[in-house]
Symmetry: C2
Subunit: 306 residues, 2 copies
């Protein structure tokens, strides 16, 4: 089954303690679409300016990513510039230029509207609402978000939670959104706002998945010694997750076992993504490597409890 | 098989945002011994003053804890007073009074010296050395430590690492000891100093277990909504871990599967311990509850990766 993905498409300038690269392909929809396309066909919705490099378009179109929903308009592409601190966990935004993104209204091509799986990748909650308004009878809707929207668009975000099946956010954001310091309490508070499931990402500490009926899954992080660029890890996780759900999509409701697998494969793809700048590693990783690392993750977390 | 445990025995005054209690039984050896005794007989080595309450002695002697190595001497028992911040993760030491601990020289009764499993619970590295000097042919030696010893006794601690099979410490301490910000690199640096295995505790994020031959296990934390008193969680973890190893002790070398189980049961006992002040919860928890939570932990971390 196919996945509808809406989010940002950006040109990133990224500096880490080890290197600095300009004009990289970035944005939540770029990472999420390439990740999802490993598992399912993708219908992408986004906007870029006339300066957007042809190579980046080809990277997307060479995969199972339908670009009918990609608006190419006069003006410059959204730009983000960030710098990572030596621990690679904290980063500072050096500059943001919304450019063509400022007037973006996501409009779905007719054949996108019946997509059974929807990922509202990280983007303003009002735009996420606007996409949902156009979708007809989706089976499973996942929303990603970030601290910025909790700060400046909390009302819209909270209203969105009543319209989605699952929210993805990181531990700091879960605490910020709910005012809880304990993640179990934060998860319960989020589920009370609407979604059936919430995934709380903890970076190097893995991911916690909670369901409204008390379901719980703790997914370990893949242990990495060298992180070259954490940009897009969360978007890649979300894209991989929804891609796996769509691959397994049937007429049955999405069950918790499928969600566990989806979280694991999202984790695996995110672990590859941070091994190189931009989408460089996602461009080369293959199905065999993804399978290897998911089985390694399973071995790493198995034990006999008796 | 039996476990030799040396560490501190203290009277604690503990303040949390919700409550404050004075004169609690505390100290690394108290928590570790009670935890280990769920699985194996314990030979305790420690020191208390004449003010040490009889009730506390009985709590220990009512279990499989041999107190032949407990020195009761003139003077006051070691005292620690601490306060937890609202997030329950950070704490401040309000006061420390070493009292009889200042002149403590751990001396092993003759029948302790052949203990096959040894836990050098959190205590000055010089005292840990002194205990090892008296032990004859131990099968598996585990050392716990803390930031204080890395700060003031690093040389002795590093020398100790060449004499033990396993080190337990938390993530902050692993970074402090090695100068690495990445935990995988920190673990490798610690293993290069001597021990065959290292367990890096991450509090609410679980525990990572590393072996010298590349073995790796990621143990989830048990999800808790309410933490009443984190004091002794690490000591309880270490005690439960060594107790399980001793229960399973055979003439074969300790293998990684046994260590995984030991980490899981240490995690389970620690999760119970933080549910009440001092050792109150460890006093009431039973084998059925320990089994339940270990199986829950397994269900929480299972997935099908294909």
């Amino acid at each position: 089954m196919s996945v509808l993905i809406v989010g940002s498409i950006a040109l990133d300038d990224i500096k880490t303690p080890a290197a600095e690269h300009p004009d990289l392909l970035g944005g939540s929809a770029s990472y999420a679409s390439v990740a999802a396309a490993f598992f399912s066909p993708v219908n992408l919705v986004g906007i870029v300016g006339e300066d957007f490099p042809k190579d980046h378009i080809e990277l997307l179109s060479d995969r199972r990513i339908d670009l009918a929903g990609l608006q190419v308009v006069p003006g410059k592409t959204f730009r983000w510039s960030g710098e990572y601190m030596p621990d690679m966990n904290t980063r500072e935004t050096r500059s943001v230029a919304l450019n063509v993104f400022e007037t973006f209204t996501p409009t779905l091509p007719e054949h996108y509207k019946s997509a059974p799986f929807v990922l509202l990748a990280n983007i303003a909650p009002d735009l996420q609402h606007h996409v949902l308004d156009q979708v007809v009878g989706p089976r499973f809707v996942v929303a990603d978000t970030m601290d910025l929207w909790i700060n400046i668009a909390k009302e819209s975000l909270v209203r969105l939670l009543g319209r989605v099946d699952m929210l993805i956010l990181n531990d700091g954001e879960a605490k910020q959104l709910t005012g809880e310091t304990n993640l179990v309490k934060a998860a319960k508070a989020i589920l009370a706002l609407g979604p059936e499931f919430v995934a709380i990402k903890k970076g190097e500490h893995g991911c916690l998945l909670f369901g409204k009926n008390g379901e719980f899954f703790s997914c370990p992080a893949y242990p990495l010694e060298d992180i070259h660029d954490p940009t897009g890890a969360g978007d890649t996780f979300a894209g991989g997750l929804v891609g796996v759900l769509a691959r397994e999509g049937s007429d049955e409701p999405v069950d918790f076992a499928a969600l566990r697998r989806a979280v694991v494969f999202g984790t695996v793809l995110a672990s590859y993504n941070v091994e190189a700048f931009s989408l460089e590693r996602l461009k080369t990783v293959d199905a065999a490597q993804i399978g290897d690392r998911s089985r390694t993750l399973r071995r790493m977390s198995q034990f006999d409890a008796d």
